[in-house]
Amino acid sequence: MIAAFARTFDNLFGRGEAAVTVPPLDGAFRPNRMLDEAGSRAALEGVDCLATHGDTLVASAGRVLMELGKDGHWVQRQDFGTSIVCIASLGADGLATALADGEIVIVGGPRAGQSYRIDSKATCITAMTSRNGELIVANGSATNAPGDWQKDLLERNASGSIWRIDLESGASSCIDDGLAWPAGLAIDGDVLVVAEAWRHQLVRFDPERPSSRKVVLADLPAYPGRIAPAADGFWLAMFAPRSQLVEFVLREPSYRRRMMAEVPQPYWVAPRLRSGRSFYESLQGGGVKHLGMLKPWAPTMSAGLCVRLDRAFQPRSSLQSRADGSTHGVTSAIEHQRRLFVAARGDGVIVSLPIDTIATDRGGSR
């Protein structure tokens, strides 16, 4: 009764859970254009996930697996005939490739060609990682496919789950569920770190004791995605920025329902991997443009954001593409041969830059 009263009070005054606020892009998230200014830039339509396979860097783009050739060009390696939703390195054991129908196929290594499934109903694989002969898999949603991530957000679902597959026996088991779109996984010693996108946080827990769940980084200014290990920490890809407008819509259930029922999906008030391609979209006109040019600081539904985390998962610096940039919708970032490779699915590009040129914004070396 009191909780209901408090909720009504909060809704009226815009407080507590109903506060339509977004954390600022400051400190390690200080706006910059490093992604747009990266020296190396390769167009790759539909690029999504990056991983290493032996000494080779591979990328998933739609139905095909691409690899970075010695000459620095991307070449096709394999066509799976169906969309690849995620890839992950298994070290010497090859490469795990998750497909849109929920099947996970091993490429290369001693188990080449073997396939696994976490569950017959689980078809929303968003991230994978491996440890000790096991494959850890994140299933983003129990009801939506990976491409329907905006719908899952607007439905305010928290039906994601984390699974483990024994690569030897093929047996799978659920480690934890009730997660709000787990979109990234990382192994830190014995513990597992999960990026929970719709709750804007990173949580860590012992896979043997899921109840040990603890938030390590909260209140992020964008939706966190895949995590990759780095030489001195981790790289976190953040696929879309949060905005006050979206936060407001998320707190208006009836508006959301009508919008999703009556407005075509490309024009929903929702974060995107790339925005500004149609004049039917929300956020147009003088609010975002000045003399016909998009303001870099305009509120935007899409942006490019890749964050360097230290070993304690605290942000140290970031690489960004602002509202008027051209490297939006970062879905994956990975270190390879002293370079950072960033896949921006929104703009269909892979940019790369030497690790040494990336300044640590928050720290003594500035």
Binding site: L12, F13, G14, R15, G16, A19, V20, T21, V22, P23, P24, D26, G27, R30, A218, D219, Q244, Q314, D361, R362, G363, G364, R366
Partner: protein, 498 residues
């Protein structure tokens, strides 16, 4: 030519303690004479003897070649000496024009008449202040302008400005300097007391430096540079230590995010502003007066309230907080060190010990139901030593201390509460050079100890010197962020005004 003001060997003692010792001073007609010195050097006492506020214990005061014994400020005013005080002496419940014409010989004025005359007069001084506005509603800078206008209105031959620019924005300072130039052309002599040495060097014809109540040196301005003045003021070189090159500094690595202000709004003063403060780091906030910095900080500390509807969020260590009064904020470890220490910083009639102990009680550090005098003395003595407060003992009243030592008491009141986040609002306003260095060291020490520190300052060299991160506030919101060792004055100022 006879000096317009001459002091011959004046001494002023308070309870046997000399504030000014055997000082001689001259002010020529149409001259701008800067009097510089640390707080407690005796500058204000010296000038107050000219303005009739205090009477010398020994020595003579000569005005226009005539020996005088001024017993009241109005007596000095009739002889053409007006003083513009550091603390405003305006009546807050009257309008600007009423304040200007309050002490006129003419007893009765038509309101409409003084508003029209006031408007013209303020315009002639290039002061953008509404003559019909209530003084209570004005900002510190505008109050200072009214104070200056009142002195000019009295057609004074000698105007004494005590720290006139401390509360002014750069643009207002520019206007003030051109006003002084105009006064000079009209033959008005100006005594200018300031801690901003650059201003004295820019504006003064002659400079007098005082130290510990004694005259150190008087010479034409061209004979001085910043280094020489500082050396004369403090007897040691502090300039480089104070405002050396900020580019050589190594910035601190930040800790956890202690404070996250998200889309905070308060009327038209704070408008949808957002910023973060990290542990173990000094976050400087620069902005012009009226840019909403102080108000945002006060909302965080529970002194002011944000908008009732959709006023934004303040998150302390990840937890959303909303304080209606400062007490729970203090209990949670947020301390706001006020910019107006005389009004909000301490109880002036109480002793140092009582002031510090009250803060300890407010912060829940003292658990006793009754006041323990020995505990009070112990706490006070610890902080007096830790912050190097120069006082006879802990029982000295705070009002009797110099500005710098008063500020140290205010800081002691903050630190005794074991804060997690300290917000310093203009920490060195009206503080002498020696105390500035000590306060800066103290702020640095706090950050080194892992405390989150937010420093709000209108003095750009201070922000550059102290800050690991610099946030720029404009029109009620944070508009830009810079790295402490990479920003330069021009870029910051550009962000603050455009």
């Amino acid at each position: 030519m006879t000096p317009v003001v001459e002091l011959r060997g004046v001494t002023k003692e308070y309870r046997g303690v000399p504030a000014v010792k055997n000082v001689s001073f001259t002010l020529e007609r149409g001259e701008v004479h800067a009097v510089l010195g640390e707080n407690g050097a005796g500058k204000s006492t010296l000038t107050k003897m000219v303005a009739g506020v205090v009477q010398p214990s020994a020595g003579e005061v000569w005005i226009d070649g005539e020996k005088v014994a001024l017993s009241t400020p109005s007596e000095a005013l009739t002889r053409g000496v007006a003083m513009v005080y550091q603390e405003t002496s305006l009546v807050p419940s009257l309008t600007v024009a009423q304040n200007i014409y309050l002490t006129d010989d003419k007893r009765f004025h038509r309101l409409r008449g003084i508003y029209i005359a006031g408007q013209q007069f303020l315009q002639s001084l290039n002061f953008h202040v509404d003559p019909t506005a209530m003084v209570a509603t004005l900002g510190a800078g505008q109050k200072q302008m009214v104070e200056i206008a009142r002195a000019v209105h009295h057609d004074a031959k000698v105007i004494i400005f005590d720290e006139p620019t401390a509360t002014l924005t750069p643009e207002e300072k520019h206007q003030f300097f051109s006003l002084v130039e105009r006064l000079k052309l009209r033959g008005v002599s100006v005594i200018f007391i300031s801690h901003a040495l650059e201003e004295a060097l820019a504006i003064a014809d002659r400079i007098t430096v005082m130290r510990d109540g004694e005259h150190v040196v008087t010479d034409v301005t061209s004979a001085f540079d910043r280094e020489k003045i500082v050396r004369a003021m403090v007897g040691r070189t502090l300039s480089g230590e104070l405002y050396g090159s900020h580019r050589d500094r190594t910035l601190r690595t930040p800790g956890d995010k202690v404070l996250s202000v998200q889309n905070l709004s308060m009327g038209s003063v704070v408008r949808n502003t957002s910023f973060s403060v990290f542990a173990g780091q000094i976050t400087g906030v620069f902005g012009l007066i009226g840019s909403g910095r102080t108000e945002a900080a006060k909302v965080v500390a529970g002194v002011l309230k944000r908008d009732l509807f959709h006023g934004g969020q303040v998150r302390l260590n990840g937890k959303s907080v909303r304080y209606r009064v400062p007490r729970p904020a203090v209990r949670d470890g947020i301390i706001y060190v006020t910019e107006d220490r005389k009004l909000e910083g301490f109880f002036e009639t109480m002793s140092i010990a009582e002031n510090i102990h009250i803060a300890a009680i407010a912060g829940g550090q003292s658990k006793s139901a009754t006041v323990s005098i020995s505990e009070m003395r112990q706490i006070a003595q610890h902080w007096i030593e830790a912050l190097n407060v120069k006082a006879i003992n802990a029982d000295a009243r705070v009002i009797e201390l110099s500005g710098g030592n008063q500020q140290k008491v205010v800081v002691a009141k903050a630190l005794v509460q074991k804060p997690k986040l300290v917000i310093f609002d203009e920490p060195t306003r009206g503080v002498d050079v020696g105390a500035i260095a000590e306060i800066h060291q103290l702020i640095n020490r706090l950050a080194d100890d892992g405390i989150a520190v937010l420093v709000i300052s209108s003095y750009l060299p201070e922000v550059l010197q102290l800050s690991d991160r610099i946030l720029v506030c404009r029109q009620g919101r944070i508009v830009e962020e810079f790295e402490g060792n990479k920003a330069d004055k021009e870029t910051i100022m550009y962000a603050a005004v455009h």
